[in-house]
C-alpha cells in the first residue's frame, strides 16, 4: 500500500515494520540498551524495536520518553522511524534532539486514523521525505 502521511519530523528510511497492538510509553517501556519492549504489561513484551519502523496508534506515557528515545539513538538501539495517527510533542522533541546531538534522523509520520487497520502486523516500510509511505507484506508483495 501507499499512504500519504504528514511529516511531524521529516526524513527518509526503509526498514522492517513493527505494528504495536497497544501504545507504549518509551520511558519504562523501552529498554534503551537493547531496543526491546520491557513493559511487563505490554502484549508484545520482548519484541525488539531497534532499527524498525514502529507503527503506534498513539504515543503515551511519561514526558521522560524523549530522553529514552535520545539515549536509545545514542546506543544505536532506537526505532528507525515512527508512524502515528496523531501528533505527539514528546516524541517530536526526542527525535529533534537526537538529530541535533547525534546527526541521526528518526522520522515521524502521521497517517489518518482510518488507514490504521490496513497496516499489516509486520512486513516492511519505506518512509519518503515529504510523507509518502510504502508498505510491503512479508514476502515482498505490496500490502
Amino acid at each position: 500500500m501507499r499512504l500519504q502521511g504528514q511529516p511531524l519530523v521529516d526524513g527518509e528510511v526503509a526498514a522492517r515494520l513493527m505494528k504495536l497492538e497497544m501504545p507504549l510509553s518509551l520511558w519504562g517501556g523501552l529498554d534503551a540498551q537493547t531496543g526491546a519492549i520491557m513493559d511487563a504489561t505490554h502484549p508484545q513484551r520482548g519484541a525488539c524495536l531497534a532499527g524498525a519502523v514502529v507503527a503506534m496508534f498513539a504515543a503515551r506515557g511519561s514526558s521522560s520518553s524523549s530522553s529514552t528515545l535520545v539515549e536509545a539513538v545514542r546506543l544505536g538501539k532506537a526505532p528507525a522511524g515512527f508512524i502515528l495517527t496523531q501528533p505527539d510533542p514528546i516524541l517530536t522533541i526526542g527525535s529533534l534532539v537526537a538529530a541535533d546531538l547525534y546527526g541521526i534522523e528518526v522520522p515521524i509520520m502521521i497517517i489518518h486514523p482510518g488507514r490504521w487497520m490496513e497496516l499489516p502486523g509486520n512486513g516492511s516500510a519505506r518512509i519518503h521525505r515529504g510523507g509518502l509511505i510504502t508498505v510491503w507484506r512479508d514476502g515482498g508483495a505490496l500490502a
Binding site: 534503551a32 506515557g61 514526558s63 530522553s67 539515549e71 545514542r74 526526542g94 541535533d100 546531538l101
Partner: protein, 413 residues
C-alpha cells in the same frame, strides 16, 4: 504558529545561539501541540537534570557550549544520586561524577541547584494565574491544582527550551477551557472511613489517578481543612497512578472555591464515587506487607518533606527509640535540610537516628543499607514506584504505624 516580535528575535539569534535553537525546537513542539501562539512564563522547573545516560550530559553540554543562559528563574528537580553526601548512596558509585557534571552544566546555564521535586515549598513560588513551565509530575499537579498557577505537562528537553527562551506554546493547561473540570468525583469523607488521615489522602490520589487519567477531576467531600501537605500527597499519588496534572477540590483549591466558580456554567459529568471499599483496595495493593514481617527501614519525603512535616515528625518521635539496626531516611531539599538542622526539632529527629537525604528520591537512589527486610513509608508515590525501581518489599501505612514498626523492627499491627 503566529510569532510575536520577541519570538522572531529569539529565532533569529538576537538573544544568542542557544536561545535560537531552543526557540526553533519550541516551534516544532508547539505545532505538534496544535498551539496558535506563544506566551511568556514566569519560571521554569527542570527535570532534564536527572541523569538517564550519557545523552543527558551531551544535551546540557550542547546548550552550555552555545553560551545558553536561562531567561526566567529556573529551579532543578532531583538528580540520580546525592552528590553532596556520596557516602549515603548504595547504588552505582559511577553515577556520582556524571550526576555532578550534569548538575554543574545546568548551573552554568543559570539554573538554581535546588535539586528538589517540591519547588513549591520554596519561599518564592508561583502565584495564582501565573504561567510557568514546570516538569516533574507531582510538581505539575501541585502548582496547577493547589497554587492555581498554570503549567502544561513539560518534560525532558522542553523544560530547558522554555527556560532558555522564557516562552511556551499556548496549549493544554495554560488555557482556561482545558482547566475546567470534566468529571465530578464524590469522595467518602475521612470520618466515614476507617483509615488514618495520611493514608486516606494517599489512597484517594491513587484511586483517582487510576480512574480518571486524562481528565480534570473535581473532587467533592474532602475536608475543608485539607492541608497543603495532604494535597501534595494526594496529587503525587494521582500523578503516579494516572498522570493527573490538575485536580480541583470543591471548597479547597483556588479554582474551585464554589461550584459555580469551578464549572463556570459548564456541564460536568458524574464520575463513579470513591468509596471506602475503593480506598481499602488501593491500600491493600500499596501495602502487601504482613504483620510481624521484618522491617529494614522507614523512608519518608516522597515528595520532599516540608518544614511542617519535619515538625510533625519530631513531635511524633519524641521520647521513642528505633529497634537496633532499623534505618530512618527522610528526603528533602538542600534548603529545607539546612533549615531543619538549625531548628529545635532537629534534636528530636537526631535522637531517633533520622538521616536526611538531599538531591534525590530514595525510591530511585537506593540508600537502605540492610539488604533484607521491608521498607515502610507513608507515601503513596513511594509505595507505587519503589518496588519496581529498587526491588524491595514496600508498604504504605500511616506515619504512626511506620514509627511503631521501626520501634519494633517488625511490621506493627
Amino acid at each position: 504558529m503566529l510569532l510575536e516580535a520577541i519570538d522572531r528575535d529569539l529565532l533569529e539569534g538576537a538573544h544568542g545561539a542557544a536561545a535560537a535553537r531552543a526557540m526553533a525546537m519550541l516551534v516544532r513542539y508547539g505545532e505538534a501541540r496544535k498551539a496558535e501562539r506563544f506566551i511568556p512564563i514566569q519560571s521554569a522547573h527542570i527535570d532534564s537534570c536527572l541523569y538517564h545516560g550519557p545523552s543527558s550530559v551531551d544535551f546540557a553540554r550542547r546548550y552550555a557550549q552555545l553560551g545558553g543562559r536561562v531567561r526566567v528563574p529556573t529551579t532543578l528537580n532531583v538528580g540520580a544520586v546525592d552528590t553532596l553526601h556520596p557516602g549515603v548512596n548504595c547504588g552505582r558509585a559511577s553515577l556520582v561524577p556524571v550526576q555532578k557534571e550534569l548538575t554543574e552544566l545546568y548551573v552554568q546555564l543559570g539554573c538554581v541547584p535546588t535539586l528538589t521535586c517540591a519547588p513549591y515549598q520554596r519561599r518564592a513560588r508561583p502565584g495564582f494565574g501565573d504561567h510557568v513551565a514546570w516538569a516533574e509530575s507531582n510538581a505539575i499537579a501541585f502548582v496547577n491544582s493547589v497554587l492555581g498557577a498554570r503549567t502544561d505537562r513539560y518534560g525532558d528537553f522542553t523544560d530547558l527550551f522554555a527556560a532558555l527562551t522564557g516562552r511556551v506554546p499556548l496549549a493544554g493547561l495554560h488555557l482556561d477551557a482545558q482547566r475546567r473540570p470534566t468529571v465530578g468525583v464524590e469522595v467518602i469523607a475521612p470520618d466515614d472511613v476507617d483509615l488514618p488521615r495520611d493514608v486516606y489522602f494517599a489512597c484517594v490520589g491513587y484511586v483517582l489517578g487510576a480512574r480518571v487519567a486524562g481528565k480534570v477531576p473535581l473532587l467533592c467531600g474532602l475536608p475543608d481543612d485539607s492541608s497543603e501537605d495532604e494535597l501534595k500527597a494526594l496529587g503525587a499519588a494521582a500523578a503516579s497512578s494516572g498522570s493527573i496534572a490538575l485536580f480541583h477540590v470543591l471548597g479547597v483549591t483556588p479554582e474551585a472555591r464554589t461550584l459555580a466558580a469551578a464549572t463556570q456554567g459548564h456541564e460536568v459529568a458524574h464520575g463513579t464515587p470513591i468509596s471506602a471499599a475503593d480506598l481499602h483496595a488501593a491500600l491493600s495493593k500499596l501495602c502487601p506487607l504482613e504483620e510481624g514481617e521484618a522491617v529494614a527501614a522507614m523512608c519518608l519525603g516522597t515528595p520532599h518533606f516540608s518544614m511542617e512535616e519535619f515538625r510533625g515528625l519530631g513531635r511524633a518521635l519524641r521520647g521513642r527509640k528505633p529497634a537496633p539496626g532499623v534505618e530512618v531516611y527522610v528526603s528533602t531539599s538542600r534548603e529545607i535540610a539546612s533549615a531543619v538542622q538549625s531548628d529545635p526539632v532537629w534534636m528530636d529527629l537526631e535522637a531517633f537516628g533520622v538521616r536526611i537525604v538531599v538531591d534525590v528520591c530514595t525510591y530511585l537512589a537506593p540508600v537502605v543499607r540492610s539488604p533484607e527486610g521491608a521498607i515502610v513509608t507513608n507515601s503513596g508515590k513511594y509505595a507505587h514506584y519503589g518496588p519496581g525501581n529498587i526491588g524491595r518489599r514496600i508498604g504504605l501505612m500511616s506515619l504512626e504505624r511506620c514509627i511503631r514498626s521501626v520501634e519494633q523492627g517488625r511490621v506493627a499491627p
